[in-house]
């Protein structure tokens, strides 16, 4: 039986003895979209970072793409990020000296031989085009709006065709046009069979696409409304 795309079992995270969340459980099947919802400060971003292997839980089990991330060393985590995951940050992190295209290609620099880089370059251009940035390919981050930066960040998360895409508040604080384009891209990916885990404040459009919802609240215990979780 094929393992699930994401499994969280009793995951807790605290900083300096202050608990952010405790005992979170979640199962996401391949090809599903899961949405982590809740007000600001409840740990949506922290949870996504744990799934994205950028952070480790204080307690609990995290399995992504069938791999228990707690057993992986730094090298193993890097391999998992490249081969399975794509992470779109809440605040887009783009390198200021690089163009939009170069920023999208960044994950490929050490991994892809120069002969094959052309293929990725073509793919990056297609992604940027699909995200409505055809005429902004050579623009540097300071020449882009927040919505455009967010789209570049999403394109970078998709460049390695990740099996699991993690998007942190992909449409929050964006204009309608940017939010619509991003939602369409996520929908398209979902239809193509990608697994998506996203955090959102209250984007009904995204929530309607999600088959799994994980609600995080300020009070404990956190509620997991995943009906498939035992």
């Amino acid at each position: 039986m094929k393992p699930l795309a994401v499994i969280l079992k009793g995951v807790s995270r605290s900083f300096k003895n202050v608990s952010i969340f405790r005992g979170v459980n979640l199962k996401v099947n391949w090809g599903e979209m899961a949405a982590v919802v809740g007000p600001s400060g409840v740990g949506k971003t922290t949870l996504l970072r744990i799934v994205g292997t950028l952070d480790r839980p204080t307690d609990g089990e995290v399995k992504v793409c069938g791999t228990d991330v707690n057993t992986l060393d730094r090298g193993g985590l890097a391999e998992l990020r490249w081969s399975c995951l794509g992470f779109s940050f809440q605040e887009p992190v783009l390198l200021p000296g690089l163009t939009a295209l170069d920023n999208v290609l960044l994950p490929c620099i050490p991994r892809v031989k120069s002969a094959k880089l052309r293929h990725f370059k073509k793919q990056a251009m297609m992604l940027l085009e699909a995200l409505g940035l055809r005429d902004r390919i050579r623009f540097k981050p300071h020449q882009l709006s927040v919505g455009q930066k967010k789209r570049v960040d999403l394109a970078r998360a998709l460049i390695n065709s990740p099996k699991v895409l993690i998007a942190d508040e992909p449409t929050t604080n964006l204009d309608d046009e940017s939010a619509r384009i991003i939602a369409e891209m996520l929908k398209e990916r979902l239809e193509e069979g990608s697994t998506i885990l996203l955090a959102t404040h209250q984007d009904q459009n995204l929530l309607s696409m999600a088959s799994v919802r994980l609600g995080l609240q300020r009070t404990f215990p956190r509620v997991n409304d995943n009906p498939k979780l035992d």
Partner: protein, 433 residues
Amino acid sequence: MFFFALKQVFRTRRAWTLLLILMIGVATASFEVLAPIADSMSNQLESYTKFATGFVTMWGGGTVGVDFWNPFHFSPEDIPGSTFNITKSLPFDEKDIANMSSMEGVETVYRTAIMAAAYTPTKEQREKMHERFPDIERREDATGTWDTCLVCVEAEAALAGLLPYANVEKGRFLRPGETDAVVVSTILEKEWGFTVGDEIPLIIWNDEHRFKIVGVYSGLLPTAMDFGFTAVMELDELFTFLDVDPSDGRFNALFIKVGEPSLAQPIVKALREEYPTAQVHYEFAFIETSMELLSSTLNTYDLIRNLLLLVSAATIILIRLIDLLRHRRELGLYMGIGWRERDILSYMLWQSAIIGLIGATVGILLTVATGGYLSEALVPERLKYMFSISTQVPDPAFLPLAPLIALVLSTLTFAAGYLYIRRLTPLKALEEV
């Protein structure tokens, strides 16, 4: 990865880091420029000190021109109104020398005649000198010749006394009885382009004589007796040219070799009383003090140079580390998007090496380009004639050393960066600094 690191150096503010490292490199190299100048001054002053310690010098008058008349066969009637007087211009004879030799503490008295000989410059030499010294015309006579200082020494003096104190930089000194040969000063070599093996034509008593240059020296005589464009020949050969029996010779300079510096003072006193018109020098005390001053200056130079090198090294490392801290989010991003540790380390290594090597290379090129000008500007013209100052800058030993230092510093910085990276998690690195 190399090309990405190279592009990143110029895309980001690391170009400013590069510029800073370059400036530190130039500042360090500038002190390397001072070192050979100070060293050559020190070496020559040291040899001059030995000369001043060993000899009392007597200078009896102005340099006698031998290109228009023969002083030994000249009578004032030949040129009406002439004030020329052979006993005034060439005041010492064999009787004086016998008198001096009998003084307590005097070991030997060496005879020297310092004359002027005419030299007809080539077109190239004339153009070069006009460019270097716009007032050269004052030194040219109506026939368009230039004066050379012809120092005629006893070959024995050269071997026994003067030679150890003369810095023969190329070739050799004169051999006893050697004819048609001269040793020339480094200034004459530098300015007129003569070197060992060349022939220099000099006009002595209206006849042109060709001398083979067998050596190039520096630091032979006190500057009062040697105005720089000097050729040294054997004394007996001069008397042959002038058709004078050596026993009838007269001299305008004497080198009195004394055994002990303590004995020199009464000798100088006695000579000054007996020859009131002559300049009698024993410059040991003066030179000794100058040497102490110079030595202290050189030590200060060395200290500043070494400190600057140390501070430069520390600054380069510090700048790179600050740069690393400023770009922490960048490194966090690389981790977050799946770069392996070795990818990040390879990126950092390339970047350190590129910055270090470009900085060192451009710094060296700049120093080579500006070093000559700097040393020209630092050393006064007059000093160049007093000492043969090396303007070969920077020190050739420094050239291969600079990229090596840069590479070592890059590796050190890289090692420090590696330790830093090892402790970071992507989340920590991505935090706002």
